[in-house]
Symmetry: C2
């Protein structure tokens, strides 16, 4: 592990200095190489799939693990898309002219070495490398053990292409060891790794937060709320809720909890129960009195990220009550209000503490490409450094360049 | 400790919503109250000083601890200065118009609850509160045990003034317990504290980084270098080095290490030895051959933050060698080049990995007020979130406010 750290640190000084055009050429080269060596990738992936099947992993997991020519093409296309995006480095973010006559420029620079700990999605290996590399960083990747052969196949092709382009191959390094001790050791490598990004389940993220001595960016968990205000357009509310809950179930920006104003609950909840007849509702007493088929909610339901055809329902008698309920139960990811009242929506967006607060739109838009940031490395649910979708800009830091004419301090 | 956390969290939702004018009025009120209750503060401070003297603490520590009417006036003036600065909140930092027709605004918001662990400088209690409050945050403060009475006197006056202004007094909370267990417990309060900022010695900062489960902003340590290039104006170099080393010894932006190009070392080092005759130089063999009175450096010297009239001296034969030496030994704080060669200075500012890189100026300028940021909470030496002087803006986060017309995701 020590060697991996040293290699990454050294590669980082090189990757930080690459020109935008060089990085873009290399990204396109890697995309071609992935397509060209597709058979090697599929062969490695087959090994992972066979192990997974012999261990009787569930279908969803096997689906996430599985690669095919279409998926490899999507992964390669992702790199080509990155290659045409603006370079996030060497940008003068601000200029200051203090009274001492110095000229101070705040300039974007890479973060350095980024560690990513993730579960068994082999596409993350390439996607994460691409984003980090374009932002001038190097990566140390620790993927789930189920995807080890696929990940190493990707790493081999990327490293070879980097070498062919006379770049340091250690700009990407996958940790080969599949045991937990390797993950534990990685989380203590604060000498070498500048930031650690865990991607995956709540359990994984909490474990990394607890054990890491490296700064961590918390991503992912989304107990997203939609508040239907008394001044809502109910047809719009229905369409947005259906989209936010049902369009894709297993994602962090899906809606998990409905908060509804009492003044419209009697009209709205029966409409909702009919429209979303295959969804299970865990509701408070007042909502259940309106729609008896709703299941009685326990306090835990309001903290639950279902990631399935289920949601909690809470009735409130005021905006303030809605805000208090949401701020207590949300995961600071994405929450929405449906209302035609400007004053109410202004209050809501000011008071709700979330990375993204919506007015009259689905929470499903919290996503790097929907925001126009291009690809993303994750959705940050913390307040330090980056919040919400993390694209290229969020994978950079800055430094101050100060130009003087011999100034000394008095 | 649990109660302190809960109180802070609750106060944070209130402090986040205060108008700029309200906060500014309260800051001025607190400044008046500090002057008005000066006798209470001095009485408390006397207790701390008596304990310190009975424990035979060193003079520098007692000086840091000591308050007098002038120092209290400076502290109060600091709050008044803050009150006339621009408010850092509710600023629209960026606006995006993606193809889906949503309007996305990135708006500055407070970080929330900020924990500060510091040593025995009672002024930090008020300064840190002021900055955090102006940026909409609440603070939990854990100062050194030597200053406990002074800190509690400040806390009492601030809490009383907050209450008189109908604000939640728990916007500031000082931890009363002076034992280490309280500090340990505070570092694990990730449920309540959004970010932890240690201020003080390297030992303190390292301990916090190791034990905290809360995101930490690393501040302080400065092994600052000045590289005198072969194309330097040597008179300017002398003046800058004298300022950076001697103007104030115990500060993190003081210079600790000289790197000098061989081509001018023979001329420059004797000039330097004469001008800074009361400084001790720990030099490599080549430098020592030029000035025999220099002491032979050990490898450790090049990592040393002397904070006294001492510095290390390293000779190099190229810019690249200078860059490699500095990047290996610096603490990512502040480093400078003295040169009249534009190409050389451009390379240096690009390649040096530090929060602040200077051309022809003293490293002593790395400071919030010298940068024009107003007061500062510290100098960040990490890359995540904030780098360099941390003023009001660096004590904020942001959220995205997204306005739609019923958009759903396809």
């Amino acid at each position: 592990m020590e060697t991996i750290g040293l290699n990454a640190k050294k590669a980082a000084t090189e990757s930080a200095q690459l020109s935008a055009s060089k990085k873009n050429d290399v990204l396109k080269d890697i995309a071609s190489a992935l397509l060209h060596h597709q058979e090697d990738i599929l062969k490695a992936n087959k090994k992972d799939l066979e192990t997974a099947q012999s261990q009787e992993l569930d279908d969803a997991m096997i689906d996430r693990l599985k690669l095919n020519p279409n998926r490899i093409k999507d992964i390669a296309d992702g790199l080509v898309k990155l290659s045409i995006m603006d370079d996030p480095l060497q940008e003068i973010l601000e200029t200051y002219h203090p009274e001492n006559g110095l000229i101070i420029e705040k300039v974007s620079v890479p973060l350095g070495v980024i560690g990513i700990i993730y579960e068994s999605r082999p596409n993350v290996t390439v996607d994460a490398f691409g984003l980090c590399f374009k932002a001038g960083n190097t990566v140390i990747l620790k993927g789930g053990k189920e995807a080890i052969h696929s990940n190493l196949a990707f790493e081999a092709i990327i490293q070879k292409t980097l070498s062919q382009n006379k770049l340091n191959p250690f700009i990407i390094q996958c940790i080969q060891s599949t045991d937990r001790q390797a993950t534990q050791a990685m989380m203590k490598m604060d000498q070498y790794i500048d930031v650690l990004i865990p991607r995956g389940s709540q359990g994984l993220i909490k474990a990394v937060l607890k054990h890491s001595t490296i700064p961590v960016i918390e991503t992912g968990a989304g107990n997203c709320h939609i508040y239907v205000d008394k001044d809502a357009d109910l047809t719009m509310a229905l369409a947005i809720i259906e989209n936010a809950k049902c369009q894709r179930l297993g994602v962090c920006n899906a809606m998990e909890s409905l908060v509804v104003h009492e003044a419209i609950a009697k009209t709205f909840l029966p409409m909702l129960a009919e429209q979303l007849h295959d969804v299970e509702f865990f509701a408070d007493t007042k909502a259940q009195a309106i729609v008896p088929s709703f299941t009685q909610a326990t306090p835990l339901d309001f903290y639950t990220e279902y990631l399935s055809k289920a949601m909690s329902v809470k009735t409130v008698s005021s905006l303030q009550q809605a805000v208090d309920h949401i701020n207590e139960h949300n995961t600071k990811h994405s929450d929405a209000i449906i209302t035609n009242n400007q004053e109410t929506s202004d209050m809501f967006t000011r008071l709700i503490d979330s990375s993204t607060v919506y007015v009259n739109a689905s929470t499903r838009f919290t996503d790097g490409s929907e925001f126009g940031f291009g690809a993303e490395i994750g959705i940050s649910t913390q307040k330090l450094h980056a919040r919400g979708p993390m694209g290229l800009k969020q994978l950079t830091s800055y430094k101050y360049i100060v130009k003087g004419k011999g100034q000394t301090r008095v």
